[in-house]
Every structure is written in C-alpha cells, then in structure tokens.
Symmetry: C2
Amino acid sequence: MTDDIGGGSLLVAWQLKEKRILIVGGGEIASQRIQSTLVADPYITVLAPQSGLHPRTRHFIETRDDRITYHDRTFQGAGELEGMAMALTALDDNDLSREIVGMCRERRIPVNAADIPDLCDFYFGAQIRDGPLQIMISTNGNGPRMASLIKSRLQKGLSGQEGNAIVKVGQLRNKLKERAPGVGGDVGRQRMKWMTTLCNQWEMEDFTALDDITMDKLLSEGWDQGGRVPSPVDFGIRPRKDTIANPYSIPLLHSAVAFAAGVLATTLLFLYRGKK
Amino acid sequence: MTDDIGGGSLLVAWQLKEKRILIVGGGEIASQRIQSTLVADPYITVLAPQSGLHPRTRHFIETRDDRITYHDRTFQGAGELEGMAMALTALDDNDLSREIVGMCRERRIPVNAADIPDLCDFYFGAQIRDGPLQIMISTNGNGPRMASLIKSRLQKGLSGQEGNAIVKVGQLRNKLKERAPGVGGDVGRQRMKWMTTLCNQWEMEDFTALDDITMDKLLSEGWDQGGRVPSPVDFGIRPRKDTIANPYSIPLLHSAVAFAAGVLATTLLFLYRGKK
C-alpha cells in the first residue's frame, strides 16, 4: 500500500442540479458524458450534426427531452458558452477542442476535453452507483481497464444493500430529529452519538429491514429509554442464534463426516477380518 | 441495488497541479481540507488567526511550507480571491462563509463552504488512496459515518497491491510504446488489445512481481512473438501448481486428517478389545 501524499487529484462530488452544461459532440464518448452527467440533474445542451450521433446519444436525446436540448449543428462560437456551468467536448477534431477549451478558460467555465488530458480541469472515472451511494475509481490517467478491474473487486465487497441501508438510516435520522428537534448544541451531539452507536452495532443489512413502524418502535424503545441502543436481535431483524455468520460450521461438519467415515471404514475392515 | 438515474452528483477527479487555492479557517475541518487538497499538488493559502489553529493545521503549515502560505489574519475582502482556482471555507461564522461564497460566485471561483451544503459547488467524501489509485465514496449528504462504513467494506475487497500493480502496468505500457511507437491507428489498436488481454489473463498481483528485466522479457517473448500473451506461470511469477488459490485445499486437508483420526480411533478400539 503506497501512502504518498501528492501526485493525485482532488476527488469531489460536483453539484449540477438545475445548472446548464454543454456537450459538444454526439459520438460514443458524448453518450457516456450524457449518462454520467444525467446522474446530477443538469440541463444539458448537446451540439452535434445528426450524421455523427451514436445510437445511445440519439436514444438519450429522444427519451430525456425533459433534460436535454439538442441542436443539429457544429459549435458556432463563444456564444454557445453563454450561461453554461460546465463544458465537455467529445470531438475527433482536437484543434476545435483546444479552441473551445481556450474560450472556457477565459470565461472560467470548468471544462473536460476527451482525449486531451493536459487541457482538462477534471477527469472522469469508473463509477459504482447504488441510490444515494456513489463510488468513483480513478487511476489518475493509468488506463480505464485497470479502473474497471478495481471496480469489479470493489463490487465483490458490497452486498448491494448499501444504498437501501443509507436511505433507511437517513429516514431514521429524520424521524429522530422530529422527536428531538434543535440544531447543534447538546441535543445535536446526543442525536449524533446515538446514531453513531447504532450504526456501529448494527450491520448495514439490518437497517434495510426497517419500515415506518419498526423505526418508530426503535426510537420508542431506544432513544426514548435514555438513549439505549437496542440490538437487531431484539427487533426480530436478526435471528437470535446467528447460524449464517459462523465461519466454522461448514468445515466442522466436513470434519465430522470424514471422522465418521474413518470409523465406519475401519470397523468394516475389522469385522471383515474377524469373519475370516 | 438501486439503479435510478438522477438525484446524485457528478463524481470527478479535479486537477489542481500548480494552481492556487484559498482555505479560510484553521480549525479541524481546515486541517482536513489541507490534507485532501495536498494530494493534488496545489499552492495553498491559509487565512486564519494563530489563536484558532488546530494542531494538525499548524503541523501542515510548519512542515509543508513548500506548498502552504500562511497568513495570521481573518479574511479581509474580495482581494484575497485574486488568482485563486478554488476556495474552501471552514469557519464557525456562517455569515462570513456566505459572504465569501457570494464573492466566489461573482468571480466564478469553485467554492465549498463547510456545513452549508446548499452553497457548495462540490462536496468532499471518504477516500481511499493507494499511489495512482484513488477511490471516493459519496453518500450524497447522508452522513460521513455511512461513508466510512462503506469504506471499510471496500478496503476488505482490496489486496493493498492494486496501486503497485497500476504503476507496473503503466511502466509496461510505456516500454511497449517505445518498442512499437506511433499514435493511434493500427499499431495503437494492437498495443491496446495486447495490454487488455494481458490485464484480463493476469491477476493484478502478478504484475507487482515484474521488474525492469522481466518486463523486457515479457515484451520479447510476448509482443515480439506475434502479440502472444504469456501466462504468469511461464514467468515463474505464479507457481505451476496453484496451491494458494485452490479453495478446496484446506477443507480437503481437514477432512483427510479427520478421516485418519477416525481410522486411528477405531483401530485402537478394536485392538484394545482384542487384547481383553
């Protein structure tokens, strides 16, 4: 594990809600840009001649006209950048890309130019999305193949229930705030302490079993009782005897069967010899 | 697994190399901001009265004066933002934070105000760093506790060798480019195909065993031989008989020992009975 400081990027979650962004180009990369940015709810303007549209770009334009404005033409000049919070070029024409980047710099518009890393204010990376959970993997320009291999490794470590668990914890926190209102101060600290203890003692998957009624019950029997943190076992969410999580049970069973087989085999052998 | 589009952020790897950024405040959050941004090699100006410096902020100021300029004073006005590529506030005074955000907006400077999510152009998240590999976990404002639990889960899926592997693959790619130079076109496609096949057939950990000499050997016996992709076994990197990766070996051993124990126990019993 290399833990050197420096030589990396600043990974951030950029906010684009209701902002306008420009995508110049309509090919495969442009379709990926549309897909990546739609996650953050911007209004997207796509500039590209019909002839160069990738089927997925066309699909997005047709199905997401609530978010995407499409113009069947090439980039006309600096006027296209008016009111844009971000610009992404996905063009084969590197000279035009460089020209657009220059215009963005003058106007202080954050810009990414596909295939010209030196000119980018920011890079994209491999992503995992599960509701409110977003994970980004960046290899800092060392190839998308490695990023996608790492992505597979990370996905193996996830149960697929994490997004759902985060939603439930958020709902529980809101219910707690209704019961014990107030910003900051003592009550804020106590709320945070209770939530933290709960998140440490419960498995993430336990939270996914909570619904409106069990959340209220948890608050009544926990928070209301002097800030006690009930166990998921008390709530019937986890069985009282945890049979699944015992890592020894299967090997022990194997060993027991093998021992019995040894006893049986030897007994038969002795009995057979005894008969002779 | 929730796979809804929308409602999220655009996760990006922001480039700050040799750019100037401003951090207003010197407390614990400010020290975290310094740590996060130093990864991306900016020049950092910290504005904060001595009296409010967190020990870790003080430590960064003292040890990283190659990157950090410190001013022992509060924020004086819009002049402080001159030439800044990014601004981060970490202040108890929300009114001042809001004022600074307003000035940044006018100047189109990307800004993050700690504790005022509505005013942020971007959020920070939990991070994993391993050399060229950076991973960010965002719960889109649903609590840093959940992000850090997810971080632990992801770390369990990683061997800790991924950063090193990415470095080695980068070195190998550079060597390949020296052997088969040229941008794009047929040779570019062939290089990419060979690297991709290699990355798919080798485990990531296999690459960490490569050094200068074995890389040259790999290219001579692989790429130079009509683009053949040698196995890590041929290179002595992995043993010919994979004993580690066989998930059955240990249970089989257990079962064999248990079987032998059964044989032994029964034999002893019969012998003992035979004597009587």
